[in-house]
């Protein structure tokens, strides 16, 4: 999902965000993986399809497994809205010889 999220980043999730209303298009959400029990995914809402179904996508579309492969996800699988993300220190993570 780079550049918005990278391995090792923390996200703080508001699990109350969708108690009274559904997600908006563009929301970054954490959801339960429809294809793997106990696994969580972090995707953005690409569309509201009605009947409580949502299309989700990864920001890095070429590398993302999302609604294009597993189809629309029911609202019940959406855990909450990403409220804050804390990025890892890339310089420290990648080391001094990294080109970045």
């Amino acid at each position: 999902m780079s550049p918005d999220l990278d391995a090792g980043d923390y996200v703080i999730v508001n699990t109350w965000a969708y108690r009274r209303r559904g997600p908006d298009i563009g929301d970054l959400v954490v959801l339960r993986d429809p294809e793997a029990e106990g696994r969580f995914l972090c995707k953005w809402i690409a569309g509201a399809l009605g009947s409580g179904l949502y299309a989700v996508r990864g920001y890095n579309e070429a590398m993302s497994r999302d609604s294009r492969s597993f189809g629309p996800v029911p609202a019940g699988l959406i855990v909450g809205k990403v409220w804050l993300s804390a990025r890892a220190d890339r310089r420290r993570t990648l080391g001094p010889e990294s080109p970045s």
């Binding site: 999902m1 780079s2 999220l5 990278d6 980043d9 923390y10 996200v11 954490v30 993986d33 294809e35 793997a36 029990e37 696994r39 969580f40 995914l41 972090c42 995707k43 990864g58 920001y59 890095n60 070429a62 590398m63 993302s64 497994r65 999302d66 294009r68 492969s69 597993f70 804050l84 804390a86 990025r87 890892a88 220190d89």
Partner: protein, 173 residues
């Protein structure tokens, strides 16, 4: 944000956070054991063709020897290539498609995959019809499990190819 990340790292050590995956491997979601089954059929066919080759006798001409060598080399090369395709396809299913819950549901899956790769190695190294038959049988067993994980029923029928072996197909449509 680096400070917040450091604080959350400390918190994570005390009370580990759940992991959310933001991106995965290339996500086509398109997997099919048919490629492995086809590769096994090809290996069987190549072993058959090698067995049918008439070896040049002591009075064979240079052209006849050359023709024999050419055909043998081509059959062996194709057998090698398709045994490797088989291994690649099974590895992709194993590494990319099957998930821990599939192994729980089908406890023989690990052993089956491992044995199928061993059969393919043997089928590649040797001119060995039994190894090639094992490849197809194991590919069929993998196909049966694969389609069960997708709630697609299967049936077994003789293949329409010249090999004519029993092959597992999904009931689709």
């Amino acid at each position: 944000m680096a400070l917040l990340h450091s604080l959350l790292t400390l918190l994570d050590r005390v009370s580990p956070a759940k992991i959310a995956y933001a991106h995965c491997d290339i996500p086509c979601g398109i997997y099919d054991p048919h490629h492995a089954q086809m590769a096994a059929h090809t290996v069987i066919r190549m072993v058959d063709l090698i067995g049918q080759l008439e070896k040049p006798g002591p009075n064979a001409t240079a052209d006849q020897r050359q023709e024999y060598m050419n055909k043998l080399a081509r059959y062996v090369a194709t057998k090698e290539q398709h045994a490797e395709i088989f291994k690649t396809e099974v590895r992709v299913l194993w590494g990319d498609y099957f998930k821990p819950e599939h192994v729980q549901q089908f406890p023989n899956l690990h052993d089956l995959v491992w044995k199928s790769l061993k059969s393919a190695s043997k089928g590649r190294q040797e001119i060995n019809l039994q190894a090639a038959e094992d490849m197809l049988r194991q590919a069929n067993e993998i196909a049966t499990i694969f389609w069960k994980t997708k709630n697609v029923s299967t049936y077994s029928a003789k293949s329409p190819y010249v090999t004519g072996r029993e092959t597992v197909y999904p009931k689709i449509g």
